[in-house]
């Protein structure tokens, strides 16, 4: 029972956090965010966990696969991973 109460408290806190953030920010990406290049998103997001990868590491087809892996692993947004993948392939 104690565990159940704790879990409910955590879930309630999460819900409040999400609702507050959406209320403050809205869910539309501002122009400055939407205008970010693939190179910028590559530098910003990859470095969160590991060093930004060398575009020459994989072939274009391999980057298609690696990008899907990172979409799921790092919970990247669709726009981010699409731009990053396109950048890596263009710089390859």
């Amino acid at each position: 029972m104690k565990n159940s109460k704790k879990m409910k408290t955590i879930l309630a806190a999460l819900a409040i956090g999400v609702i507050s953030m959406v209320a403050i920010n809205g869910c539309k990406a501002p122009e400055s965010i939407a205008a970010k290049s693939g190179a910028q998103l590559w530098a910003e997001n990859c470095n969160r966990c590991h060093n930004a990868p060398d575009p020459h590491t994989f072939s274009d087809d391999q980057w298609d696969v690696a990008a899907e892996h990172m979409r799921q692993k790092a919970l990247l947004t669709d726009t981010e991973i699409t731009k990053i993948r396109d950048f890596l392939k263009s710089a390859n």
């Binding site: 565990n3 879930l11 539309k28 969160r48 060093n51 899907e68 919970l75």
Partner: protein
């Protein structure tokens, strides 16, 4: 039964009887079940690693100092290979598998997950997966671990499980949200008449021990537009962990974690800060010799485990000299507090780590680390280790 046969017969007659209602303009069926949106692509990724370590157990209560060194003898520093076949079946379906081969231990399946991307904001997944639970497990525990050794307070909560879930990332103004929600078999309670493992829970269960399921998830927030700061909380609740019909069926387990992951370049130094707190609690229970007996084998204990770590690394990434810019210096502290009264528990343990990393490439580190482990009532242990890792 007769009714069912009658319906099937009627259906077959209707379909094959030349009825005009069933006539179609074009009866050609070029392909069925053809993949949509792209061809199959595969990438075999993975990592190979080895460690040499020198361990010193200091003199304690009349016992002499013990020194030993070896290649990969410690479970935290294995000699091993991880293979990661990744398959993009089409634009929506993706398969992610991890197989671990560890010298002296054998081969095992870490993960086998299939993802289906429903829309830009959500993917559905199913299989054997490491639920998101903080920043260490499944994320910072391979070549991304800049301290070589595992934090002593981690790996106490949620581990690999079988189940289904949803996850994704969403842009919310200047900030971003990541989420994961899942239902899984959950942990199973260990009832051990020897007491050695009594009250522990085990993960990685391909079959469930009861009809109840664990529910869990994570929410991570990246408040800054440059994604430099990530804050996350995760939790899992399992109402029943015991075997069906046993007196322990309704023993519940709750695990939660909170973490921070931050990096920023204060030119020419890149600073990286990571920290995590984990807590897991399992209901208390008394263990009797049998259900009709009142002779107690093991009295209940406060079955809670908690652990944490906080680490900071500095990398002169802006240096003009390549050798210098490839170096990264890290320091980390952490602790583990097991149940004091359990036979498998004991006094709290602390860990201090200093590690110097040289990055040959973005994914090939050489770590030189020094760990000090302290625990009340036990000798201090220091470990000097060198780890080489190649991610491919």
């Amino acid at each position: 039964m007769i009714t069912a046969i009658a319906f099937i017969t009627a259906g077959l007659l209707l379909a094959s009887g030349g009825n005009k209602l069933c006539a179609q303009k074009d009866t050609a069926v070029p392909f069925v079940n053809s993949p949509q949106g792209g061809g199959e692509k595969m990438l075999l990724a993975g990592e190979i690693y080895t460690t040499w370590q020198n361990t010193k157990i200091n003199a304690f209560q009349g016992m002499p100092t013990v020194k030993e060194n070896s290649f990969g003898s410690d479970p935290n520093f294995p000699l091993g290979l991880m293979l990661m076949p990744l398959i993009k079946l089409n634009d929506r379906l993706f398969i992610d598998v991890q197989v671990q081969v560890t010298a002296g231990v054998g081969a095992g399946l870490n993960e086998a997950i299939i993802y289906y991307r429903v829309n830009p904001y959500m993917s559905v997944f199913a299989g054997n997966f490491q639920p998101r639970s903080g920043i260490y497990e499944g994320i910072m525990d391979d070549f991304t671990n800049r301290y070589a050794s595992a934090p002593i307070g981690m790996n106490i909560g949620v581990a690999t499980e079988s189940g289904i879930g949803i996850q994704g990332g969403i842009q919310c103004g200047y900030s971003k949200l990541g989420y994961q929600l899942y239902v899984a078999n959950g942990p199973q309670l260990t009832v051990d008449s020897t007491g050695a493992q009594n009250g522990q829970v085990s993960y990685g269960n391909y079959t469930d021990n009861n009809t109840n399921k664990a529910v869990g998830g994570e929410l991570c927030l990246l408040p800054f537009s440059n994604s430099s700061l990530e804050l996350g909380v995760s939790g899992q609740y399992t109402p029943k962990t015991g075997n069906t019909g046993s007196p322990f069926e309704s023993i519940s387990n709750t695990t939660y974690a909170a973490y921070i992951n931050y990096y920023h370049v204060f030119n020419p130094i890149m600073v990286r800060l990571q920290g995590q707190y984990e807590h897991t609690q399992t209901d208390n229970f008394n263990l009797y010799t049998n259900s009709a007996d009142t002779a107690m084998l093991f009295k209940s204990f406060d079955n809670q485990i908690s652990g944490w770590y906080l680490g900071l690394t500095l990398r002169p990434s802006g240096s003009q000299k390549q050798f210098i810019s490839n170096l990264e210096l890290g320091a980390r502290i952490g602790a583990l507090t097991p149940p004091a009264d359990a036979l498998w528990g004991g006094n709290p343990m602390n860990q201090t780590t200093i590690c110097l990393t040289y990055w040959f490439t973005w994914k090939t580190p050489l770590n030189i680390a020094y760990d000090i482990y302290t625990q009340s009532g036990s000798p201090n242990v220091s470990v000097f280790s060198v780890r080489g890792m190649w991610f491919f």
